[in-house]
């Protein structure tokens, strides 16, 4: 009996300590690839072929980043990515917030059916729509244009779902007060409901930005020319052309990855709140 109690007393602290070691190893394995990417991008091509590898570059420089702009219109590609991601994100948040509000606050025939249709499309993998979308876009001559990247991604069933849930659980007193003061639905939404839904907007904004910035499958179909290319497609093309110039490829990866991580760290305080609200109920 006593030995059993002792084991009970000791086991948690031991497994706990072991757990922290495992956690430390995991954390390192998360950071090392990013560090190695950054380090590679700052090295000259010759030093990549050294064993042991130079974890901390001995003679760091920005040559690889300069090469990026020489071998492809890299500025244009970054600009495309920024325009596409920013426009998709803002339009997605606006249309989803409006639609979510419409489903949460108005009663009309077919409301439930409409909501079910939104949910239903969430189950269909994007790959199903990609071939017809591509055919449609080539018919109207939108291949290799930014609008072909933007327009099909504006409506977001997930965003509508998120905002609907958020508005459903938001108290209505403020909106009622505004209505009594004579504000119509349009003003009530923009002045009161939407500002109060900021956590939902932050959550969905980040998810939408991430998805748009990182998208590969649809851009691979529709935007392979440099004039409409976004970063992931450009990066893959870069790798295709410069198989062994890993310093240049890693420089491109840094440019592709860094902005999203910065955006994420900047607004992660707001999103964890939003995610919990959306996921808990």
């Amino acid at each position: 009996m006593t030995t059993q109690l002792r084991i009970r007393g000791h086991r948690p602290s031991l497994s706990r300590r072991l757990g922290w070691v495992v956690l430390g190893v995991f954390a390192l394995s998360m950071i090392v690839p990013f560090a190695w990417t950054l380090s590679t991008s700052l090295q000259a091509r010759e030093s990549l072929l050294r064993i042991p590898p130079e974890l901390i570059p001995q003679d760091p420089g920005f040559d690889s980043y300069r090469r990026l702009t020489e071998v492809m219109p890299f500025g244009r590609i970054v600009l495309n990515s920024v325009v596409v991601a920013v426009v998709i994100t803002s339009l997605q948040v606006l249309t989803s917030a409006m639609a979510g509000y419409g489903l949460a606050r108005f009663e009309f025939r077919g409301r439930q059916a409409m909501f079910m249709l939104y949910l239903g499309t969430l189950m269909v993998p994007f790959q199903v729509t990609v071939v017809p979308l591509f055919i449609g876009m080539s018919r109207i001559g939108w291949v290799n244009t930014l609008q072909a990247l933007i327009v099909p991604s504006i409506a977001s069933a997930f965003g509508v779902f998120l905002f609907r849930q958020y508005f459903m659980q938001m108290p209505m007193e403020m909106e009622e007060a505004a209505a009594i003061d004579g504000a119509g639905p349009w003003r009530t939404f923009w002045r009161i409901a939407f500002p109060f839904a900021r956590p939902a907007a932050a959550t969905h904004g980040l998810l939408a930005f991430m998805a748009a910035w990182n998208a590969y499958l649809w851009p691979l179909f529709i935007a392979r020319d440099e004039q409409a290319m976004t970063l992931p497609v450009g990066l893959a093309a870069l790798h295709g052309r410069f198989q062994t110039d890993w310093n240049v490829v890693m420089a491109g990866s840094v440019v592709a990855v860094l902005p999203v991580i910065v955006v994420f760290i900047a607004i992660q305080k707001h999103i964890s709140e939003g995610l919990l609200l959306g996921g808990g109920k």
Binding site: P12, G102, F221
Partner: protein, 291 residues
């Protein structure tokens, strides 16, 4: 929902932009894909109606069946590992302390990164001669394989990279689930003489099963759609040993210009995902406990 009583029609204004775009760019293409799957069409000549020939061909297409098999292999390797890693991370990082928060951010960094970049980073790390992975293995006396060029190891590499990228996402879902488990239950178990290990399996885990269910649903739906990591990291090789379903869809549409066949494949993929999701829903009664 009554305060808008006098302005009922406004729902049209709020819903129109989103709903019309959804109809044109999602619902319509899904329908078109269904119709298209009964045609053979290379976009150059007129589409030709072929009945169910595409589906018959899919059922005998060895490349597609291989791809489906590899997709399942990927799922069997990836889903359990990423679930366990995500759960372990969540158990340790669920607390509200600043250190835990910072670590959560670290583990989430791969989640927000583009798959193309992540795949390229891993491709360089797994380089058999100059990559950092084999160098580190060398430090402990192991000669690493030529990861991406050896049958068997290529799929391991795809799974490793995927677990690395998604563990933080799974962690986040479990953190939300764990924070909803009331600490009183666990305290009660500890008072009754359970150790931390027992308390976790007997009390916390059963209360967490709804989250486990959610995680498995999301992971399975996503992993049937595995694509970028294969397309970039292994380029489906060596000798097609890591070709997957979505990669076959892209190849048939792009390389072979077979739009109808690719559309039919995408519907088969949807059907598989649908059946698996419904089956999971049915089975949940057996193991998911709702408090």
């Amino acid at each position: 929902m009554k305060w808008l009583g006098s302005s009922k029609r406004w729902w049209v204004v709020f819903l129109a932009p989103s709903f019309l775009l959804l109809l044109v760019f999602t619902v319509l293409p899904i329908g078109v894909a269904g119709v298209l799957s009964f045609f053979e069409w290379d976009l150059l000549t007129d589409p030709e109606f072929v009945g169910i020939a595409n589906f018959v061909e899919i059922s005998r297409d060895e490349r597609f069946l291989d791809a489906l098999g590899h997709t399942l292999t990927f799922i069997v390797g990836y889903v359990p590992v990423v679930t366990v890693v995500g759960l372990v991370l969540a158990v340790f990082l669920k607390r509200a302390s600043r250190a835990a928060g910072a670590l959560r951010v670290v583990f989430f960094m791969p989640v927000v990164s583009a798959w193309v970049a992540v795949a390229l980073i891993w491709k360089w790390m797994l380089n058999s001669r100059f990559g950092i992975v084999n160098w580190m293995l060398g430090l402990i006396g192991i000669e690493g394989p030529a990861w991406l060029f050896e049958r068997g190891w290529a799929m391991v590499a795809v799974i490793m990279a995927s677990v690395w990228k998604d563990a933080g996402f799974v962690m986040l879902l479990f953190v939300a689930g764990l924070q909803a488990v009331s600490p009183e239950y666990i305290e009660a178990a500890v008072v009754d003489g359970a150790n931390a290990w027992q308390a976790f399996w007997k009390v916390t885990f059963p209360l967490l099963t709804p989250t486990v269910f959610l995680v498995l649903i999301i992971l399975l739906i996503n992993s049937f759609q595995v694509f970028e990591q294969v397309w970039i990291l292994t380029e489906a090789g060596p000798v097609d040993s890591t070709t997957v379903v979505v990669e076959q869809i892209v190849r048939n549409a792009f390389t072979f210009g077979r739009m109808g066949y690719a559309a039919a494949m995408s519907w088969v993929l949807f059907a598989v995902i649908f059946v698996v999701t419904v089956a999971q829903n049915r089975l949940q009664k057996r193991w998911v406990h709702y408090a």
